[in-house]
Structure formats: structure tokens, C-alpha cells
Symmetry: C2
Subunit: 348 residues, 2 copies
């Protein structure tokens, strides 16, 4: 697919101009844009700049609140609930994680459950904030029901991510950010569009039967069958039951639903001060030692070293921070159309 | 395999008598016995009473401390480190979780990293303690290196479990307690002893290549390839880097090592007060609603309902609390041998 490399700053300015024009509060716009640009820089294109037109429709349709009034209810010294007031998940999520960090600064650990939120993109965005403060960051969200229930025929829980970030000496933090299925719906969709079959094991049809026909995939298969399903449920308990948000099939689907419908998503953020246990300098040096020891392990395929979670994203980040983010032709056309519509130019 | 059902209380008394005779402190003996009997009652035989002879050798050989002096170092209002002083993991683990619960009672959340510990059996034992106090319990440990590194040829991390327990209205708590591999070493071992092949996908040989020969399995394959590997690493960071314990290949193997060698394992326990977020009565009713909704989902195989994590264990517990724990003939013989050796009778 043809694409043009565009510098993150140029995309940032373009997005900000549009959001400013429709009256999105600057801090809300900044967190949203920061989140999707970080995802694209880290090579996580599914949660990157390609979603900007979707979020824009969300603001226009009323799904997303341009001027959210967050309400934080601190319940103990280390915990509380945040009403996201239907802000984009990136903004409500950042607010939630910043509160968790604030609580942790005082109590050692801080955890915040967020409700009345929306799609928050890549979970790593929030957990990375904690690592900057010498804390371990944990970040979770519920999502559109896509994961096959164990022993069932249809999805109940979403492809709920598990994300942990820990700071490291001499390089960017360790970052695990994984969903609980073998493949994502996005990947299935790409195969469908290319007219390609999907491997058996990615998904099942609407009767719960294995299929290799991308167009028939109705539910995604979780990793390790009941284990991935259990992880999804664990995340849902944290995000929905602790926050008071709806769960499973009650959640408004991200796509194919009216843009005036609120998503009502829930998130859960936790920040853990490393000096609540161990000298952060010692921790970070041992983190580095662990990562380097893994990368020096004998590799299965000559020339392809063992990788640590987050290594591919670090490589993408280095390249794309320099060269720019590759914008596929079809997305560039969408951006140009938005440019004329909102009288904003994407200059690069 | 022939087996005899023996009541939990009878086994408990027999084990206690032996541990008493060799001078194990009563509280240490109680936590160890409580842990392995609970595992057997819940059907988790791999971590159950079959390991009693192994732990006994640990006490006799000096690996396990009969009279541990725990040292708790509280670092913030919600966090601290516990020196387990080479107690059996069940005892050091219980002490760690009880400290976490104590911290949470005050601060909202409590987390304790334990070092100088040993094999702690089933992770659920500790997380279930938190649920009794209307808290969510999380429990993790590192373990003997068994999991194939992603892109590597040999194991680095152990089959580190992820365990979360949450209280529920009208029934025993939700309990997810999962290791990060497709199958356990124990299961591979059983196939080897039975002269059966294992499915490709369970493990690899010492060159990192797929194998169906149980005797050749040198590393276990993680669920979802790099995802399960990432989960193992996440758990190792919590258990080793926060506690100061060794990690990965530095950890003494459970079996095939001298019984005077300390294991030096690390654990991580977290207790989260539900009322730090939500009214516990509301939480527990919604937990029940979620579990019932899942169990009522259309099932793939008629008559086999969708199951929630912990359902099989609840069923085992109901049956075995009544009928007793099935003790295979070979294990009964070991017990009888121990009986004569330590002048203790297993009466049933």
C-alpha cells in the first residue's frame, strides 16, 4: 500500500486545529491527539491516527463530550472512582492515571476506576505515565464484546487488554500491552478485505464453530482457550464491577452503532511506587539486566534475537520519530477531505 | 488408578503429627497443611497432598525452615517487603497476604513482596484470604524456569501464575488461577509415564523445536506465544524485582536439586478493598449477575454449560468435602511408609 511519511508534529498541529474549530477543550484535544500519535509512533497502527476520523464523528454525533466535567470520588487514601463524563477515553484515562499517580505519591499505591468513558486506544499510553514517576503502571479497559466465551457460541467479554509498564535503566521502560485473543478483529478485517483466508484458531462463526473464512468470523478465540477468557473476565471485573460501569454485552459497540450513543466504557489504572518496595536505582538496573539477559539467550532463528515485550514498539518509535509516521494513501485522502471540510491544512 | 477417598480432617491430623514430631512450628505447619489440603479439595491435585513428602524432605534437608523469623519492612502506608526466612511458601505467603490485607484495611490497597520464600502451592490459597474480607485478592509467584522464551530455544522464566479472586453474592468467590503455558510439566510427565505422545504445541525439545515426544520436552510453550511469555515476565518483575529475589534461571529448581538448597522464591500479594471503589453489596450482586449471565449463555455442546473460572474447582470442593480426597494407591503407600518412619498413623 502506498503511504507518505509525515512528521508527528505536523499531524499533531492538523488534528489540534480541527478539534479546536469544533470547540474541543484544549486539554481534552491534547490527550486524545497525544494518545493516537504515540500509538502510531510505536507502530500500533490499529490504535493510531487512523482512528482520528472516528473520534471526530464521535464529537460531532454527541458520543464524545468536548467539555467534560470529571468528578473524582476519593474513597480511601489509595483508591477512588472517576466519572469521565463521556470524554474521549484518552482524556478520561489520562485523568484517571494522573489521579492514581497522585494517590500513589502519598500512599505508596494508587488505583482509580473510571466510568462513563469511551475508547482509550492503546493501554500503554497510561501505564507509561506512571513509569516516568518511577512507578509501575498498570492499565486496563473493557471493550466491545468480541471474545468467545469458554464453552459458548458467542462473545460476551471484549478483547480486554492487560498492560504493565516498568521503568528501566538506560532505555525506555519494559512495556507489556496485550489483548487476550490470538488475533485482533482488525487483523481479521484486513484478511477479509484482501480476500484471504484466516488461520483456523483465530476465530469462530456465529455458531461457535471454527472457520477459516474471514467474513464468517463472529467471535475471536482467546489465547489458551479458558485462560484468555479468564483474563478478559478479570479485566472486566476491575473495569466494570469496581467502577460501576456496564459489562460485557451491555457495552455499546465501537463501530456500527449510532454516533450519538455513549460507549459507557470502564477503565482501571494502578500506579505502584517502586520505592514502596525496593530502591528504584537497584530495581531499574536489575530490570535492564533481565532484559539484556533475555536478549542474549540463544535464539531459535539465527540473526533473530529473543525479544522482550515492547522491543518492537521501541524500534518503531526510533524510526518513526525520525522519518515520520507512514500515512497510507487512503487515510491521507480522508485527512485532506477533513482539511477542506474544517478549513485546516495538513502541511508537511 | 486405584485410589481411596480419605477425609480432609484425617489427612490434616496425620500431616500435623509428623510435622510436630520433626519440630515444625504449629503456625507454619498449619498454613502448609491448610494450603495443600485446600488444593486437593479444590481438585488441584498437582499442588495438593501429593507434595507433602516433598516438603517433608525440604524440612529434613534444610531447604525449609521449621522456625522462620519473618521480617516485615513497611515502606509506605500500602506497601512493604517481607523476608520469608525460608519458610514453606504456604506459610511465608499467608504471612505476606495477611500483611497486605492489614495494609489495605488502613490504606485501601495493600501490597507485599515476599523474598526468601519457597514453593507456595496454589496461588488461589492467598487470594481467597482477601476475598473473605470483601477485598479483591491478587497473588503471584515466580517458579522454576520452564517456559520457552519468545524466539529462544530454552526456558528463562517459570510457569508463573496469575491469580485473581473476587467475592460474590450467594456463592464462593470468582477465582482465576492460571499458569501461563498451554500445559503443565506435571501433565507432560504423566504422558511420559504412560508412554503417550503429547500434542504438538505443548512443548519443545532442548533445541527449541516442536516435539510430540513427552520424554523430549525441555521447555513448555506459553499461551499465545509472546503473550504468555510476556505474562510470565510481568509476574517475574513483581515477584523478583520488587522483592529483591533472584529471577529466571538463577532460581533453584524445585525438583532434581539438593534438599539443602534454598529455593529463594519471590511472591507478590495485593489486596484491594472493594469499598475503596464501590459498595461491596452492589459489587457482589453484580459479580453474581455476571457469573449467572455467562452460565446461561448458549453452549457449544448441549448439556455442557459455559463455565466461569473457578467453577470446576467449586464442584470438586463440594464433592471432596463430603466424600473425601481421593488418595492414589501409590501415594497411600508413601503415606503409610512415612507413618511407620515417624511413628504416626493415618487413621480413616
Amino acid at each position: 500500500m502506498n503511504s507518505v511519511d509525515i512528521k508527528a508534529n505536523d499531524i499533531d498541529r492538523f488534528f489540534f486545529l480541527i478539534l479546536e474549530k469544533i470547540g474541543v477543550r484544549p486539554d481534552v484535544a491534547n490527550y486524545l491527539i497525544g494518545g493516537i500519535i504515540q500509538a502510531s509512533l510505536r507502530g500500533v497502527d490499529s490504535h493510531g491516527i487512523r482512528l482520528f476520523p472516528h473520534y471526530l464523528k464521535g464529537f460531532e454525533g454527541g458520543r464524545l463530550n468536548k467539555d467534560p466535567k470529571y468528578k473524582f470520588n476519593k474513597k480511601t487514601n489509595s483508591t477512588g472512582k472517576l466519572d469521565g463524563d463521556h470524554a474521549p477515553g484518552h482524556a478520561a484515562g489520562a485523568e484517571g492515571m494522573l489521579k492514581a499517580i497522585e494517590l500513589a505519591s502519598d500512599a505508596g499505591i494508587g488505583a482509580v476506576a473510571v466510568y462513563n468513558s469511551s475508547h482509550f486506544g492503546a493501554a500503554a499510553y497510561y501505564a507509561l505515565m506512571a513509569a516516568k514517576e518511577d512507578m509501575i503502571g498498570l492499565s486496563f479497559t473493557n471493550a466491545t464484546a468480541h471474545v468467545l466465551s469458554y464453552g459458548g457460541t458467542r462473545p460476551f467479554f471484549g478483547n480486554n487488554p492487560v498492560c504493565m509498564v516498568a521503568p528501566c535503566y538506560g532505555e525506555e521502560p519494559f512495556c507489556l500491552d496485550m489483548a487476550t485473543t490470538v488475533a485482533t478483529f482488525n487483523k481479521v478485517q484486513q484478511h477479509k478485505e484482501a480476500g484471504e483466508k484466516v488461520p483456523v484458531g483465530w476465530g469462530v462463526d456465529d455458531q461457535g464453530k471454527d472457520t477459516d473464512d474471514a467474513a464468517q468470523v463472529a467471535s475471536l478465540l482467546p489465547i489458551g482457550t479458558y485462560k484468555g477468557f479468564g483474563l478478559s473476565m478479570m479485566v472486566e471485573i476491575l473495569c466494570s464491577l469496581l467502577s460501576g460501569a456496564p459489562f460485557g454485552p451491555e457495552i455499546t459497540h465501537m463501530f456500527g452503532t449510532s454516533m450519538d450513543q455513549k460507549r459507557l466504557l470502564g477503565h482501571f489504572f494502578c500506579a505502584i511506587r517502586i520505592d514502596g518496595f525496593e530502591d528504584p536505582a537497584v530495581f531499574k538496573k536489575r530490570m535492564k539486566k533481565m532484559m539484556e539477559a533475555l536478549r542474549s539467550e540463544p535464539s531459535l532463528n539465527a540473526g533473530v534475537p529473543v525479544m522482550v515485550p515492547g522491543d518492537p514498539e521501541k524500534k518503531f518509535y526510533r524510526v518513526r520519530s525520525q522519518k515520520g509516521i507512514p500515512v497510507p494513501q487512503s487515510l491521507l485522502e480522508q485527512f485532506n477531505k477533513l482539511g477542506s471540510e474544517y478549513n485546516a491544512a495538513l502541511s508537511f
